[in-house]
């Protein structure tokens, strides 16, 4: 799909992407793919809640050397991609410290993974909305 046709169909995919970001799987629901939407919602929420119950760390935007920038900014973007679960967690004051511990570390990975899975869901919803996929 070229840039022109992507712009032409922006009114089709933009709401899908917006809803899909805020509510994991919500884009699929808008497109009538309820089973896929429910499964994606379940997986992203399970991962996010498991991460919180393990006291995972939610990344802050932080720059410095290359690895610090990559890890903290990448982690922040991945966390933000979870949508409403992330916004609610922040709003309700969830703030686990970034400290050593294997369970905490697993939790951090689950929180990041939830956002990355939601990005995959958004790409899928975009492809469905633009007719590249059924």
């Amino acid at each position: 799909m070229g840039e022109a046709s992507a712009l032409a169909t922006v009114n089709k995919w933009a709401p899908v992407i917006a809803v899909g970001w805020l509510i994991p799987g919500g884009g699929h629901f808008l497109l009538g793919k309820r089973l896929r939407g429910a499964l994606l919602f379940g997986c992203v929420m399970l991962s996010f809640v498991a991460g919180m119950l393990m006291r995972g760390y939610l990344f802050e935007w932080q720059t410095g050397d290359l690895f610090t920038t990559l890890i903290y900014c990448g982690g922040y973007i991945a966390n933000l991609a979870s949508g409403i679960p992330y916004l609610f967690a922040r709003w309700l004051g969830y703030d686990a410290p970034d400290m050593a511990g294997h369970v905490i570390d697993y939790g951090t990975k689950f929180l990041v993974c939830a956002g990355l899975m939601n990005i995959l869901a958004l790409v899928d919803a975009f492809e469905i909305a633009t007719g590249k996929k059924d």
Partner: protein, 61 residues
């Protein structure tokens, strides 16, 4: 807020399960393909967990 403490194996299997479902849904078109690919990914994840686990155990002496 309650706290959850899973073992490394339980955590790996939970992670493998959710990622397999998402990969199956997002990368394949038909439901049959999605199911097969999801199960295949899950098998690879679990196989890798046990394979690397045994490799580290045996390598540790």
């Amino acid at each position: 807020m309650p706290k959850m403490g899973l073992s490394h194996l339980e955590t790996s299997l939970l992670m493998a399960l959710v990622i397999s479902v998402v990969l199956g849904i997002t990368t394949k078109k038909t439901q049959n393909e999605q199911l097969r690919y999801g199960l295949k990914c899950l098998g690879y994840f679990v196989g890798t967990v046990f394979g690397l686990g045994w490799l580290m155990y045996l390598g540790h002496g």
